[in-house]
Each structure stands twice: as C-alpha cells, then as structure tokens.
Symmetry: C2
Subunit: 147 residues, 2 copies
C-alpha cells in the first residue's frame, strides 16, 4: 500500500500532540524512507532544557542512526509547522530529498529571514499546506492556553 | 585577568585541531560566560555519523547543560569559521548574546543564503575576522590533503 502525504502528516500530528501534552510548543515530525516511517520526533525544548531540541532535529538525528548514513537524499521529512532557519539548515546538511510541512509560521519560519533564497538542499523539493488547518489549530490552542 | 577575543579564539582553534586530527572538517568552538569557558565543541559529523554535529551545536548543547538554562544571553560563542544557517538559527533560539568568528566561509556560511538579513537573535552582537588567517589556513590544509 502506498501512503500519501496526509497519512504521514497525521503521524507527524500525533507527535505534535505528544509535545502539546508535555507542555511543549506542539510541533511534530516524521522521516519517511521508501514509504516507511524510519524516525519520529517532537519538540522537547523544555524537557531537555535545550533550545535546539526541535522536532525536526530529533527526528533527523534518529534517522541518521536508523539508516546508518549522515545523508538522506531519498528521505522525506514531514513536519507540522514551517521549519525555522536552524532546521532548514539541518535538512541542507542531511541532503533531505523532500520536505513537507503543514502550517505556516509567520513569526519563526525560515521565510522571514531568507526571503526568496532557498535554505534547503539544492536538489530538495518542498510541499507546504498539508493538513495546514489541523497543524495550525494545535499551535493556536497551545498559545491561547498560555495567555 | 580579563581575556580577550584572541585568547578565546585560540581555544576554539585548539578544538578545530582536534577535528582536523580526527579527519573532520576542522571547525572548533567555545562558549564563554563571565570570562570563563563553559563549553567546548569540535566538528564530529563523521565520528557521530550525524551531519548536524557541528562544533557550534555541540558546544551550545554542552553549555545549556553546564548552565542549566536553554537561553544564554550573556554568553559569547567563539567559532573558527563563519557559521552556517543551521548554527546561526541555533544561536537565535539560544539567544546567544555575542558571536565571534574567525575565517569567512563563502561556500557554506550563512551570508550566502540570508543576504543582508540577520539570522542571529535581534539583540546579538557579531564580530568577525578574529585570527581569520590561522582559522582559514587550517581549513585550506584540510581540503588540500583531500585532493
């Protein structure tokens, strides 16, 4: 069975809900290789007391270990929210072949700083807006409850 | 005794030489807090089989643990080579107060992608060119021996 982007984004959303329940900014990610999930990650900045412990970083480091390679050109990274500059840079170094994200992040997404420049690997493909409403709704709920 | 930027950059260079001797792209970093080195890191991409294991990432994660805080606004990050997009993004999240680097990196430095946009924290200060010749020479030697 061939799974589609919505299927994998729903899996990333499950990770985002784990972050939400742990009091973390609710962002989740999965890395897919050959139509299988090989790594998962959710934001753990508070739990690890590490401001770089974003969902994507955790999922990618897990994927390197899983595959035994520091380059993942055939992998797809699904993440519920537009990645930040740091995470885009990480996908560049990892040579992630495709990045799929859900909701836009006007405040901290990569587009704010890079403008029209491309922060991913030259060969990477990008898809956005997959389950954007659900992904964004979880963020809104999180920040609403903080107020 | 008050140490200066050259003193701390020499310590970052020692880290870069550790990377060089291990067959890694020779980049080193130290994090300084209150005139003391609280964390060190060198590039370990090959050793850890993790393309995100840059000197700065390792030094910053070590610094979070050392200080017990995920924000380091009073810290200075010294790194031998112009940081990449990922590492700049990490300094943004960590709210690193000042970044000092040595040699420029035309190929992979942050300026290539961000143009005139500022990828560091809004309040961060930046100094470049400290021991640039020594920092750059080590990189040149490394890439020359690969050919």
């Amino acid at each position: 069975m061939e799974f589609d982007d919505e299927y994998f984004m729903k899996e990333a959303l499950k990770q985002a809900r784990l972050a939400f329940d742990a009091g973390e900014v609710p962002v989740g990610a999965v890395v897919v290789w050959d139509n299988k999930i090989i790594a998962r990650g959710h934001n753990q900045v508070e739990q690890l007391n590490d401001s770089t412990a974003h969902a994507e970083m955790i999922a990618m480091t897990s994927a390197f270990n899983q595959v035994g390679s520091k380059y993942l050109p055939e992998a797809v990274l699904y993440v519920t929210v537009e990645p930040c500059l740091m995470c885009c840079g990480a996908t560049y170094w990892a040579k992630i072949g495709r990045i799929v994200y859900g909701a836009e992040d006007v405040k901290n997404g990569y587009k704010k700083t890079t403008g029209t420049n491309w922060p991913f690997h030259q060969k990477a493909q990008l898809t956005n807006g997959v389950l954007a409403a659900e992904c964004g709704q979880l963020m809104k709920e999180f920040f609403a409850q903080l107020r």
